[in-house]
Symmetry: C2
Subunit: 194 residues, 2 copies
């Protein structure tokens, strides 16, 4: 965890780094997109390969943003599997657990970065998440049971002045994954034969 002083700083005179975030880089990105909003349009990408049964691997190599293809410095792989209860080999987190990971990571990063820009120091940050899914929906046993998460609870514990807590909670609302989950999104699925 990065250590920061707990003194609130003025947004007008930030350090170059706060909460471990390089403000010069982040504010450079913000200013560039403010000047040319087209730079903000991103397309994130992933590929997935099935390895039999409930075992499959997602790879991400890069994305489109700032009007260009931006490769990651290395590809990242996520192996997903299911526990034995769902006929899997338990070789990886399962897809709905990956969803919780995406949410945890996104709200954390959004809070930390937006706090840094506003001069709010965070010494430490951790979270616990729990989400409810009734398998009667997924398994097709009940048409009236939702198939996805019906409720996800996130509990953050933050090392910061108590005065900052309410504002940090408000900053969580910037998280793209949180917004995707609470507002929903359009998903198109196409299938073709190999």
């Amino acid at each position: 965890m990065t250590q920061q002083t707990s003194k609130q700083q003025s947004p007008e005179t930030p350090d170059k780094r706060l909460n471990g975030v390089d403000l010069e880089i982040l504010q450079g990105t913000v200013q560039a997109i403010a000047a040319d909003p087209e730079l903000g349009k991103c397309r994130f990408r992933a590929t997935n390969a099935w390895h039999g049964g409930t075992d499959n691997r997602t790879t991400v190599k890069g994305f489109y943003g700032a009007k260009q293809e931006i490769p990651h410095q290395q590809p990242f792989t996520m192996r997903a599997d299911e526990p034995p209860l769902l006929a899997g080999g338990d070789e990886g987190a399962n897809p709905v657990e990956y969803l919780l990971g995406a949410l945890a990571a996104c709200v954390t990063t959004s809070m930390v970065a937006h706090a840094a820009v506003r001069g709010i120091p965070i010494d430490s940050l951790e979270s616990e998440l729990e989400g409810d899914i009734d398998m009667n929906g997924f398994l097709g046993l009940s048409d009236s049971t939702p198939k996805g998460y019906t409720h996800i609870r996130v509990r953050f514990r933050v090392g910061t002045d108590a005065d900052n807590l309410e504002q940090l909670k408000e900053l969580s609302a910037f998280s793209p994954v949180l917004n995707t989950l609470t507002h929903g999104t359009n998903v198109s699925i196409d299938i073709e034969q190999i």
Copy 2:
């Protein structure tokens, strides 16, 4: 990839394994939940620890289901980071890429498992995903721009008889992550001081 014959099988006389899925186990779970729907109520869990800046790690250790705590055989960790454009060190996939991974994995597993139960053989399966996010929303540069994904496109390529494609597409609708994304879910966020 598992190799299966392409012959459509009767749902009444399935092999013990199809598409790499152990049907005896899966159908045992289905029958148990059908007899006692309370067994289907699951609570999935994750914890996340911030490592400074945009670097954070999610850990999943187990979940609640079938009226009991079910530990994974080992904990799974997902490291998330951001690319340099967003002031990160690019040490992991970013949170919105994890969301694509969750979706890819979930639709894949849902399709494979539901196809197995229905006697539809799948020889191979891969997918490509692409999702649109306009950073003007996340960065607070435009109040009218959505902060999350506005559209995600998934393209599957499946090694199976052409006759099966339409039904496989319909089976994708069982995916819990897909349903969470398209219908949205409730997310509660609490913040307390460490």
